[in-house]
């Protein structure tokens, strides 16, 4: 492995596969059966669980959307922790002090800020930008072409989509846009292109079909504004 950098301080589990052009920071820990594919770069003190695969090259079927360009490696910042059985694609960037849970999956062309938590089994699609100190809880789904500003909270099992016509018509894919500090309740659904205002709150199980105002609370199917009742 001539093109790798694996420092003496790294703690590597058993049966780990490290491909070419991989660079590990100081004191990195890798669990058993991890796979670090070509071009993966991990910062100092990154910890990774067992069976996690980092730096996957995008490939789909002829029927699926392609980013169309070779992804140029995966970069993970200092002190970030990644669980077991996670899959993260090449061409994405994860900040410092972040957390990616077990079974989570992050596609290519995604940026994730510092201190952000991606829960277990959460799935992040391609071409999405996620800010600092966000929380994306267990089994939540963040669709492609989506923006989450800093401090956004996505409850468990919350869902969203970016394709208004479900493939039936040509349509520019537009994911939701969640402004700073927006909070999405568990199992809520956001339709393509909706904007969730700064500090707005979407109740659990709601279906958001229109934009919400700053600091607005919306609940129901379809979601409508409510007064706060603590």
């Amino acid at each position: 492995m001539p093109n790798n950098h694996v420092p003496e301080s790294a703690h590597i589990g058993r049966h780990v596969v490290i491909e070419d052009d991989v660079v590990l920071g100081e004191r990195v820990e890798l669990g058993h059966f991890c796979v670090l594919l070509k071009g993966t770069v991990l910062g100092d003190d990154v910890k990774v669980g067992s069976h996690t695969v980092l730096g996957i090259q995008p490939r789909g079927s002829a029927f699926m959307r392609q980013t169309g360009q070779a992804a140029d490696g995966l970069r993970v910042g200092d002190r970030t922790r990644i669980g077991s059985h996670a899959t993260i694609y090449s061409g994405s960037r994860i900040g410092d002090d972040a957390f990616v849970g077990d079974h989570a999956s992050i596609r290519e062309a995604v940026s994730i800020g510092n201190g952000t938590v991606v829960g277990r089994g959460a799935m992040i699609e391609l071409n999405t930008s996620i800010g600092d100190r966000c929380t994306i809880q267990t089994l939540a789904y963040v669709t492609g072409d989506t923006v989450l500003e800093d401090g956004v909270f996505i409850g468990p099992c919350a869902s969203m989509s970016n394709d208004k016509y479900m493939g039936a018509k040509p349509f520019e894919l537009i994911g939701p846009r969640l402004l700073r500090g927006a909070k999405i309740g568990s199992n809520a659904t956001l339709l393509p292109g909706v904007v969730i205002g700064q500090g707005a709150i979407v109740g659990a199980g709601s279906v958001v079909t229109r934009n919400t105002e700053t600091a607005e609370l919306v609940t129901g199917v379809p979601a409508k504004p409510r007064h706060y009742v603590d």
Copy 2:
């Protein structure tokens, strides 16, 4: 491995386990740590990511439903691509040019047609038939005893069930039936046995309790017919 067929043109990752009675087509690619269990047959140009397990023999607890017969291998058609960390059972068939995403799981006695996409983390239960050119998006759940005709679209996190009494009474399990070109919005819920008409559309987050007509649009909880508003 005397009973295997692994052609010279295959590209096999590191630490791959190939059990007996496995047959690989030409130019198959297998990622690191893949497991191909007894009786798995892959067509030409199939590509599989890392850590995927193919050909699992069904087994449950004494409290769970059994298919009751030994499953006779898994067959995957030409040019189909399977991601990382997928699990697919013995006794199922996947067509040509299909795609199975990372972390997806497909049980026994399932047939999947040509060109169909099963998204990341999607789960397909036993005894289900899925046609050609369907799209089952990320984290969607297709229950057992279900029929999806050709061209059906299932949005992300959509759910369905096949047991009206949730185990409380004996009941013949009946999954939904989705006719040609039906489209199910993200995080929608289909009750046991409902029929979604040809080309019908179920809005995101809706709960479908009754059959829908051909080309009908239904939304809400419970879902009711709406006029199309583009």
Copy 3:
């Protein structure tokens, strides 16, 4: 491996990692690429699929909740079956004759009773108690600090949460409490702290915002009492 107990009757797959202080009962079967971390104890006749990781030590980011104590091993009872690609943490207990599906994940400080089924891709959070003969279906989410009494049924993709303010205010985390024989329909949502009465039924896709009575049927968003219509 001087501190292990691996009896002659065990059937161990290829490339399995067994750390120190692991004890296996008689006739245990472990699939390929399994990882048994320090302190894992499996009963007699336990069967585990491929790529499963048992006994994970909890660790999060500085922003995440910690249990604050070293977890003291994972114990799994006799005849319990665990699928492929599951992840189960140290500090939890699983009873006899239980089943944990592929891709399921169970955190630390969880107790699971005898004969309980945890479906594929289901996620169980920390500090939760689950009784005997419960069924938690595919992709269901059981939040932390939750109690499920005996015989509870959780439908596929059902969700719940334990944090009323989504991290915005200090709040004692309180999960739902599901009394004996309660049944939750597919893709239903339970708010923090709700109590689902003994034998109560929550319809598919409902959002439960208040406690339900014994044997009550509730449906809708928000869920309201209904007469039974079989």
